[in-house]
Symmetry: none
Subunit: 240 residues, 4 copies
DNA sequence: CATGAATGAGCATTCATTCAT
DNA sequence: GATGAATGAATGCTCATTCAT
């Protein structure tokens, strides 16, 4: 008969899984998935090798469960914002998305490096499952938002919303890839607080309806980062 | 006594190295560097395992010598265009750069996947050497170009040229990453011929001086891809 | 204070041991001793892994205690028949022995397979103990019976009784081995009801004194199974 | 370019395979297939662990190829004798078969123990393949021989030839199993030179047509082993 | 230079056994 | 007594590298 309640046991199990996953993220990031050994992970987690197999089927299984733990919260935040009743102003949502990307990557630098190096090598089905978990679907949310703004005449209607939506994340991604994943030694870093407003600014200018100047357009005339973006960043802060 | 002249021998050696590197690129791309075996490479190259060690110190050495010959031609092309005496029109140079990124990645899909999965795991010195070979310094060329255009009043002067330059390559990055590196099964592909003009369009709008409307600005009112972008694409063709 | 009397506790313990041994026999037979895991046995017994160690010292100990309860009843029956006051007719005792071999093997098919695969690999002392439990000593009973029949002139006296006795069990052995232990897929089975009378028939003819024709000799001229063998089979039925 | 001719290389490979198989037979016999380690086999063969995998796919593959090497020659001899143009006399062929069984088992005692312990645990397809290789089909040859003798009136026609044929091998098998496979410590051994003639004698008497006394029947009246069986044994000798 | 068999360190995974609860 | 998580030694197998031919 179990000495612990089912509930307590579940909690303990979850705790252990977290402990192992955290260790795995660190080790995988340092040596890469293939070069990291189960011994490494066990040592990092402070447990015996065999114990890992009480919580995960095999080494691959560790990889599969990594992002769920770390990425889900911030991704859900983006999604929640996207489907809010009152759609936020364009510069707000864009700033929010970019800031979240930055948060996700900088807070999980190691993990991101693991995924970048491991996902392209997975077999097709696993890779598909993985990509499904990634923020790709956030693109659809953005696409819908853009389409709506095109209908109301705020955004230019002559551009393909699907393409326009998928252009945006890359603008920040380049910085993140180079600065966080590649980390070239001795390269001058760019501060995201300075970069993100420029990204939002350029992107917005590019897609706003020229003859329907909005508050945003006008505001942009000032050089300093707008009050709004600062506000948005504050909103994004609750992300873990 | 040597049957061949020193020169002929050198040529043969170089040929063999090429043969092995080509095989290595294919194999590494398919299975990843760590999972690919020397036997795989040897088989793909049509030689014996041991023979590889007559041309490369070890497995790592294969990786180190991989990219040069693949990346060099297109990179040199970009560089050449950037330093041309009469700098081309903004939309032309932008289209040219983007098209070259697409060419490099799509023509070396497999190799790019290798680099993506292997480079972040290299030790610092090797990684530095690698990144050096990457087209990152093309950003500096673009940065200089932008700075020049800011001075002549064509581009907005209120933006940091360094940041602005580094934003551009990312705009195509998302498409390339997802479509060429991740290759999620069953995802609808976007045609680069449709995507690149949109990228150029949005980026240019974002950084052009608002009160100095150029030909490009006006042209964009039409939905169809402009003649100019088509022209530019033709120019980019000479890339190997 | 004990809730149960010592007696009741003992009974419970015995019950548990039986439960575990039954599970072990099934599991060992299916996968072989070495490939079967304690977890397999525990699951089959419906208890926790650790609990097994409250009843058996270790895995080997399970094997050691396996056969006794399974083999004992039929073996004792053979023995009882052999030492009966009025020795039965030759064809009856032979049929009885053969039928018991068949019963033992077919009713404990799995267990027999375990023993076949495990016993030859045991260390000498354990193996000796095991063989001791096997019906080998039944051969001695048969040997004595034969010797007695030789003295009364019923069986030929020119043959070594020890050898003659040990030839008999093998006559059914081939069928049992192939059909029950090896179980080659898709092989036509022979019905023991048809096989055993032939065995008795041939063996008896072989050892009966030629110039002292018995009822049995004459009966065999008919093709149908004799009433006698049927009778014998009925007698063998009480076997558990 | 290969330094050795294809032929020489093949010979070397075969030699190595033999070397490994011999070592495997010894080790498997001593510890059983499951408990024997590849390390054990390698050590016994005097080579490195990894080298084994240059000649055999995996551990199971070693088992699969064991009997082909050791059993084939004697089995082929039996078969050859069975299909000879002039069918030998009954006692000759029976003695020949039994003697061959004895030779096979005693000369490959260890290997037989391996097979007895490993075959029943194989998966169905492999097991089927295995049994196919075993002397089971020799039974069919014997069955045909018996049927022929029944037609010519030498053997009794009232018995099922298939059953009669399958009874015979077990008569010797029992001795072989107990004395060579089980090897119970301290048991008195029976000399096969004394056992086999008794087996042939009893079996033949059991199946010979009673009212058609042959030379064999009459000869049996003498106690000593007949000249014929001695002759046969000599004939069986050429078996390796 | 080419070859490919030989090597043995290294790894993922299993599993009998222990022991805190 | 019962439980099942924890342990870590043990094993089959891989693969980069060497080297005799």
């Amino acid at each position: 008969m179990p000495r612990l309640t089912v509930h307590a046991r579940r909690a303990l199990t979850q705790e252990r899984r977290q402990q192992i996953l955290t260790a795995a993220a660190t080790v995988f990031a340092a040596k890469g998935f293939d070069r990291a050994t189960i011994r490494d992970v066990a040592r990092a987690a402070g447990i015996a090798e065999g114990s890992i197999y009480n919580y995960f089927r095999d080494k691959q299984d560790l990889l599969v469960h990594l992002p769920r733990q770390f990425f889900l919260p911030p991704i859900q935040a983006v999604q929640a914002a996207a489907v809010a009743d009152a759609p936020p102003a364009p510069d707000q949502i864009l700033q929010f998305i970019a800031q979240n990307m930055v948060n996700i990557v900088t807070q999980n630098r190691e993990l991101v490096r693991v995924l970048f190096t491991a996902v392209p090598l997975m077999d097709e089905t696993l890779r598909a499952e993985y990509i499904q978990q990634m923020p790709l679907y956030a693109m659809e949310a953005l696409e819908n938002y853009i389409r709506a703004m095109q209908k109301t005449g705020v955004f230019r209607a002559d551009l393909d919303a699907a393409i326009v939506a998928r252009i945006y994340p890359g603008m920040a991604l380049f910085f993140l890839l180079v600065q966080e994943v590649l980390q070239p030694p001795g390269m001058t870093r760019f501060d995201y607080a300075r970069v993100l407003p420029v990204i939002v600014e350029i992107y917005l200018r590019g897609i706003l309806q020229a003859d329907a100047p909005t508050r945003q357009r006008r505001r942009r005339r000032k050089k300093a980062p707008s009050r709004k973006t600062r506000t948005v960043r504050r909103r994004a802060q609750p992300l873990k």
